[in-house]
């Protein structure tokens, strides 16, 4: 049916879950009879939104769980989801402990005024760390409900059974009462204990693994249907009456100083509202989005270059890093006597590895909408650390934190980028300047040019082998370009603050890391040093936490070098690793060594790994095939990956045809969700291994779109990804089997597995990422594998 409509005037289009959030505050502050639900009337919701916004108290059960009169429950947790479906897993864990059907629950995440501060997301610790207080508070709610049922039904708790939120008398199941009848719409008013939020606990104990029903099931993620049918309201979609659009005007080169702005170049353009400028921060505000884009491109600014070059170009970077005086040095980790081991070695292997800066290069750029109504500041954002952003913005604006809240909504993932989110700060600043809601979104060239980067690494590895091919000495010496690492939503390191001339004093020291493995090597020294680029502030080469901040870099070097040692020992790469893992019996409290052995074996088995040395005899055709292996861990999560590659010797192109992953993260909450996370993370690592590098000349980032800065595409997808979820615990059925993290560990070993496979196929060792066609082809030509 045809219908004609005029475009409606903008009205408040606040997401449904936010309406629930808004009415939620009335519940927490009120006497407790307010009905909380998704259908809360808008007028009530907006009344509740007026602020201020004190922190929910994590030591109150009501801050975590609400039971409704219809016998459903809503869980409130202080986490955000980066797209791995953690919300579904939280519901599974909490539903199990509460004894309520999964389908009778819903979950609200990460909005600072209604959910307790669990820090948002980061460190792949959602399930490993934050899952525990969630389980304990849900168990405590169950305990309290059983007490209430005992009073109501007049029988002791130990004579009651509970299933799907219905409590019944064991001896007479007709006598029953639902959770909703016991407490629906009312407060628990139960205090919890715990000196910090991770330790939050009630009196009740959590269940044994064997008693969990929803945990371990592949329950479909609740967030996916709305992402597939177009109904989800993302942070980019929020619209408010009177809102305007802003675009930044970035300096054209690092360290630029703004000399003048010609406002006349834009103030006659349609929809023009204002040019906002403080220090070197410049933004243009217009009524419509496309008007703001046009005006930001048209605005004429006069910038002065710094007296000296801000940094070396990216080809000279590693030479610069090796010769730069470190800004800090971690104390080396030393075991045994490394010098003696090398002095008595039968064979010594040495190699240098270089890993460039890699951008977060988020799929869509930074964005936020800030609303300054009622003398408060509400920021609608996809910031993964919404609590940190709230605190950072309050400090940046110089207002009490109770005046600021961040409403977390879904967004494009930059895997760490939104932990140092710039747009939220910009939107809040501009909204205060204009007294109207302001939406800010970066452009693609801005995001690629000025986003945070994972630190570059150059390192030297040395290995000493005895006459039997045992590794008796190991020396890892590394330089990380990470000085003034951008922290989590800090008011003195976010880009707008830097451009306004604000300086954290002293700057963040930054950091490096050393290889993560459980190899028994008797004499070992591992050290990391941090170096700085010449320009520290207002530079597009600023480091932040990119998906496992240091792991992919260091593991590329370490696990490539493990293969170099295996070659020197004339050993199969898997057997060589197993021998080093089995070389001692010492293990940590969570059996990481035993679980490492289990993962390496499981990966080799699913891949179909047959023992032999590398490289194999080089083939005669254009396509050379090879296989590679690597392993690492992050916190308690262990991963081994094996890859079969095809290398085109005419073009240098590398295709990872088949990948096998063995992954041990302890108790698995949702197998299908974790497999999706493993697939995505593995291919993200493949993209970083093959393509990604932030290239720059001596004053700016060079590649600011998807043509010049390539990303993995559909053409690169493997034909097959085999995943084994390993439970390598020595007592795999123990009732207290812990749940560890996922998301980042798979990003660590993959690049080394690829480089090891290229070596196996061609006999050529590549020690510098990324492995773009040109670099591989040049190496093949140098080795006369390609003519």
């Amino acid at each position: 049916m045809k219908r004609s409509s005029k475009v409606p005037k903008p009205v408040a289009r606040i997401p449904k879950h936010v309406e629930a959030v808004l009415s939620r505050r009335g519940f927490l502050q009120g006497a407790g009879m307010l009905v909380v639900g998704f259908a809360a009337p808008r007028a009530k919701a907006q009344g509740a939104a007026a602020g201020p916004y004190p922190d929910p108290d994590y030591r109150q059960l009501d801050s975590w769980i609400v039971i409704h009169q219809d016998n459903t429950a809503t869980f409130y947790v202080g986490k955000t989801d980066c797209g791995q479906g953690t919300g579904t897993s939280f519901r599974q864990m909490m539903s199990d402990e509460l004894d309520i059907a999964y389908d009778q629950t819903s979950l609200i995440m990460g909005s600072t005024d209604v959910t307790v501060d669990q820090g948002g997301s980061g460190g792949s610790d959602a399930i490993q760390v934050d899952g525990w207080p969630m389980r304990r508070v849900a168990a405590e709610a169950r305990r309290v409900l059983l007490e209430l049922a005992s009073q109501r039904l007049g029988v002791p708790v130990n004579q009651l059974a509970v299933s799907n939120a219905v409590v019944s008398v064991k001896a007479d199941p007709a006598k029953r009462v639902t959770y909703g009848e016991l407490i629906g719409g009312q407060k628990f008013n139960v205090a919890l204990t715990g000196n910090n939020i991770d330790n939050t606990s009630g009196v009740a104990k959590v269940k044994a693994v064997q008693d969990l029903k929803f945990v371990g099931q592949s329950i479909p993620r609740y967030d996916i249907p709305a992402k597939v049918d177009g109904s989800l309201q993302w942070a980019v979609d929020v619209k408010l009456p009177g809102m305007v659009h802003a675009r930044n005007v970035k300096p054209p080169f690092a360290g630029a100083k703004l000399m003048s702005i010609d406002e006349a170049s834009v103030n006659k353009l349609p929809g023009f509202v204002k040019v906002v400028n403080k220090g070197n921060y410049v933004a243009v505000v217009c009524e419509r989005e496309e008007q703001a884009i046009n005006a930001s491109r048209a605005l004429k600014c006069n910038w002065e270059k710094p007296a000296t070059a801000p940094f070396p170009n990216s080809e000279d970077l590693f030479t610069f890093m090796r010769s730069a005086k470190p800004t800090s040095e971690g104390r080396p980790r030393v075991t045994g006597n490394v010098e003696n081991a090398f002095a008595g070695a039968a064979k010594i292997v040495e190699a240098d590895y270089d890993i460039p800066f890699q951008g977060h290069t988020c799929f869509a750029p930074a964005h936020a909408l800030a609303d300054p109504s009622n003398g408060q500041m509400t920021v609608y954002s996809n910031d993964m650390k919404s609590y940190g952003m709230r605190l950072g913005i309050a400090r940046f604006l110089g207002v009490p934190k109770e005046q600021v809240r961040v409403v977390w909504m879904e967004g494009p993932q930059g895997y760490g980028r939104t932990a140092a989110d710039d747009a939220g700060f910009e939107a809040a600043y501009l909204a205060r300047e204009l007294g109207r809601p302001v939406r800010v979104q970066w452009m693609r060239n801005e995001e690629q040019g000025w986003d945070t980067k994972g630190p570059a690494l150059t390192c030297k590895l040395r290995g000493a082998l005895d006459a039997q091919g045992n590794v008796v000495g190991y020396d890892f010496d590394s330089h990380w370009c990470d000085y003034n690492h951008v922290g989590y939503n800090e008011p003195d390191t976010v880009l707008i603050a830097q451009l306004m001339g604000i300086r954290r004093n002293p700057p963040n020291a930054g950091g490096g890391s050393v290889p993560d493995d459980m190899y028994a090597i008797p004499n070992r020294r591992m050290s990391s040093k941090v170096v700085s680029l010449p320009l520290v502030w207002e530079t597009p080469i600023r480091t932040g936490n990119l998906r496992d901040p240091n792991g992919p870099q260091v593991t590329f070097a370490a696990e490539s070098f493990t293969d170099e040692l295996a070659v020197a020992a004339n050993a199969d790469p898997v057997e060589f690793r197993l021998k080093m893992l089995q070389g001692s019996t010492a293990d940590d409290a969570q059996f990481k060594r035993a679980r490492s052995i289990a993962c390496v074996k499981a990966c080799a088995e699913v891949f179909g790994w047959k023992p032999r040395t590398s490289p194999q005899k080089i083939g005669s055709g254009n396509i050379l095939t090879g296989r590679g292996f690597a392993y690492s861990f992050r916190s308690q999560t262990v991963v081994a990956q094996a890859v079969e590659v095809e290398v085109n010797r005419k073009t240098g192109h590398v295709w990872a045809k088949r990948i096998a992953v063995a992954h041990d993260c302890g108790l698995v909450i949702n197998p299908e969700a974790i497999k999706g996370t493993i697939q995505g993370g593995t291919l993200h690592a493949l993209s970083r291994a093959l393509y990604e590098e932030a290239r720059f000349d001596t004053e700016k980032v060079l590649d600011t779109d998807w043509i010049n800065h390539p990303s993995l595409t559909h053409m690169d997808a493997p034909e097959k990804i085999d995943i084994v979820l390993v439970n390598g615990d020595p007592n795999p059925n123990r009732p207290d089997l812990p749940h560890y993290g996922a998301g980042e560990t798979v990003c660590k070993p993959l690049a080394a597995a690829i480089a090891n496979a290229i070596f196996d196929a061609t006999g050529v060792r590549l020690r510098r990422l990324p492995l773009r066609d040109g670099r591989v082809l040049a190496a093949l030509k140098l080795a006369k594998v390609s003519s």
Binding site: M1, K2, R3, S4, S5, V7, P8, R13, C82, G83, Q84, G85, P220, D223, I224, P225, K227, V228, D229, G230, S231, L232, Q233, W234, K239, P270, R288, E289, E290, I293, T361, F363, A364, E410, G411, P412, Q413, G414, Q441, R444, E672, G676, Q679, G680, G681, L683, H684, S687, D705, W706, I707, S711, L712, T713, H714, M715, D716, A717, P718, I721
Partner: protein, 170 residues
Amino acid sequence: MSKITLKVNGASHTVDVEPSTPLLYILRNDLDLRGPRFGCGLGQCGACTVIINGVATRSCVTPVSAVKSEITTLEGLAKGGALHPVQEAWIELQVPQCGFCQNGQIMTAKALLDKTPNPTGAQIREGMARTLCRCMTYYRVQSAIQLAATKIAKSKRAKLEPSVAKAVMA
């Protein structure tokens, strides 16, 4: 500014905008659609994809004045309350991670399957090559396209042969 009438998902809308305005901003900001999204503004990533005349079109680089035919967005794929088989396949295989790019993946896949109902693996790779995902869900996207092709073929056969319809229902 000039008045431009657009037909989107079966309904007509008149907007008063600069004719050079990219279609994306009209769909998002004037018609309040959420499927097409900004990713790059350069036609390189696919986040803004809509279907016009059967062609997957990048709305971020399409001036609104150049649009002469009906526009279908992600919101317009479902018919009579039933999701399109491509969408069903996406949910069945739990394709998205963050999901922000999936508008581009789904709309490009839909246009691909309309032209090539039974694509080979190579045809899927090539047809999807310019549609980016930074959570790297490519592996599941490709499986979901194959599943969607099977679903579409089954429902077509079911329409032709009642006996097959029974089998499909079972």
